[in-house]
């Protein structure tokens, strides 16, 4: 029994290195998508201390809007632009209707408000778009759909080009975001807001503008995530549940760290795939990806309550 747990999986890994690489690649791609969702969370949390539970449904909503517009006859790239407009309108509405009346309330109230937003968008989305699975307009957007085949170690490694594209776009997005936050005036304002609301307001930074902007950026991230994920798995409300995976990423990476979100996402993506293939399926009956990431994050937090990247919390009285 012990050897089944501690020895055989590693033997399996080493004896078929091309398969191992395939597993790691699949995990990496999932990880990138988790990281993107976590990024949206981090952005909103840093600037407003709101834990935006609705980030997941925003991904679905963005993807559905895109596909819906295209189905209605709008050309692919114009659909993208229009969807961005919809996400902006969403950001604006959320700020107006939900955030502004709740300024100053405790964090848990704001968190629950985002749960309310999630529900609302689910119901609303189902009515407008219908509940059937849809196909992402991958080709129409110009994303290549072939595979690239490698033959490492005499074996077989197949990388889907849409995954490679997703990875590349995600990387560009992250770089762009970091540049924005660090080099532009708006970006600095966002970071200032995250540190201290009152101080930021007192130097003339408008809370409302920043919040709309931040939620809009989160919306852009949601759209990119929706396209990337929809291309892999189809577009449906099931996507919303996958967004839960971003939560252990946040536990590991800390709620405030962009690099934490990225590293955490990649780690979780790869580790959960590894566990499922080499331990979950042979030993536990499979389907462990529903809970592995959470358990992993839980264990890490027990030893480091601030996550892998967070700052040590010193209690003051």
């Amino acid at each position: 029994m012990l050897s089944e747990i501690f020895v055989e999986p590693f033997v399996d890994m080493v004896s078929a290195p091309d398969f191992l690489m395939q597993v790691l690649w699949e995990g990496l791609v999932s990880g990138i998508l988790y990281a993107l969702i976590a990024l949206g969370f981090v952005l909103i949390y840093r600037s407003s201390r709101i834990f935006n539970f609705a980030q997941g449904i925003m991904v679905v909503f963005a993807a559905l809007t895109l596909v819906g517009l295209h189905e209605a006859g709008v050309p692919a790239w114009i659909s993208v632009v229009l969807t961005l407009g919809v996400m902006f309108a969403l950001a604006f509405t959320v700020e107006r209707v939900v955030l502004r009346p709740l300024v100053g309330q405790p964090d848990i109230i704001l968190f629950m408000a985002t749960i309310g937003i999630t529900l609302f968008l689910i119901g609303f989305g189902e009515i407008i778009f219908g509940g059937e699975n849809k196909v992402m307009i991958t080709e129409q957007l110009g994303i290549p759909t072939d595979s690239v085949v490698f033959e490492p170690f005499g074996g077989l490694l197949i990388l889907e080009q849409k995954d490679i594209t997703a990875a590349a776009i995600a990387a560009l997005l992250v770089v762009g975001l970091l540049l924005f936050l660090n080099k532009t005036r708006m970006g600095r304002a966002i970071r200032a807001l995250g540190d201290d609301h009152q101080a930021a307001m007192s130097v003339g930074i408008s809370l409302q503008t920043i919040w709309v902007l931040v939620w809009f950026i989160a919306g852009i991230i949601a759209l990119v995530t929706g396209i990337a994920w929809g291309a892999r798995a189809g577009v449906s409300f099931a996507l919303e549940v996958i967004a839960y995976k971003a939560l252990p990423v946040l536990m590991l990476g800390g709620l405030e760290s962009i690099s934490g979100a990225i590293v955490g996402g990649l780690m979780i993506g790869m580790l959960e795939k590894l566990f499922e293939i080499y331990w979950g399926q042979p030993l536990l009956g499979g389907n462990t990806e529903t809970w592995f990431a959470f358990m992993l994050a839980l264990v890490v937090l027990l030893f480091r309550p601030q996550g892998l990247f967070g700052e040590r919390i010193i209690e003051r009285v």
Binding site: I115, G123, L255
Partner: protein, 358 residues
Amino acid sequence: MFYRTAGQFKTSYTADQALFPVRQDAVLLIVILAFAWIVFPLTASEFAFQTLLIPILIYSLAALGLNILTGYAGQLSLGTGAFMGVGAYACYKMVTLMPWMNPIVAILLSGVFSAGIGVVFGIPSLRIKGFYLAIATLAAQFFLVWLFEKWAWLYNYNASGAIQVPNLDMFGVYVSGPQATSFTQYYVVLAIVSLLTWICINLTRGRPGRTWKATRDMDIAAELIGIDLMRSKLTAFAVSSYIVGVAGALFVFMWRGAAEPNLFDIPLSFRILFIAIIGGLGSVLGNYLGAILIVGLPVVLGILPEALGLEITSATVEHLNVMIVGGLIIFFLIIEPHGLAQLWRLIREKLIIWPFPH
């Protein structure tokens, strides 16, 4: 005029700390109890039992359990559904392994199992706080639902993976299974819910309640006045999970009649959370009010289109229900974050001075 409290003086601390120091409140409660125990069961239709009366009671109990943990002790939990499942499966195993056991005893014992597991998953709360803890409770949620599916012993190796409630009787009367009447089941549920509610009222108005509220409001100060945070939090997890587990057993045995693992998934957890939030965190009454709203809303929405002569599919009604609940949550959080219970308190205060404006 109705709620005139003038003239009602308390001359001892015992009287002051009584459950209903104001006479009108006691009268109101007696009226409600009369309806619950006598009027409703004698006049309700099968539809009313199955879609309103029984589920409202069961959801109230589950929300009460969650409220103890999240509303009173301040530990946010998103895993309520899974713990209901633990209670349900524990009860199932007990009645199938020990068919001689009194069904009500089995139901009350099943809470012990969920309490135990609740304490285990509550241990991280000693190191982890706030949102991180909420995410940790999701670990319990996802893991347990996976377990319900994979551990075939739990459902007696049944090929469908589901559990069916057997016919169980007590003193010759069937209380569960296809042979039990809604009438009987309603009384069983009412009795258990009343008992546990009474216990929770006692706990929350005394030292345990204060300890939990102190842990919630300012745990550092709580520790510095001598509260053992570990005991406080783990007790909250234990009591809360016990109640939620019993609610889970009632959920399956007294209402649904059967269960599959995905019954206890995230949507159930969130449903209970909404009831607790909309009803009012940190209150006992709120759970009932919230349950009435959340259980009653889809029923009303189902009847309304016919009454208004509109043509809406039942799927759309379902989606509208979801939208409205989401909207209601936001609405309540803006208007009255302390929920329906607080609204009731405000109405009551107005009634006390009515018809005078101040």
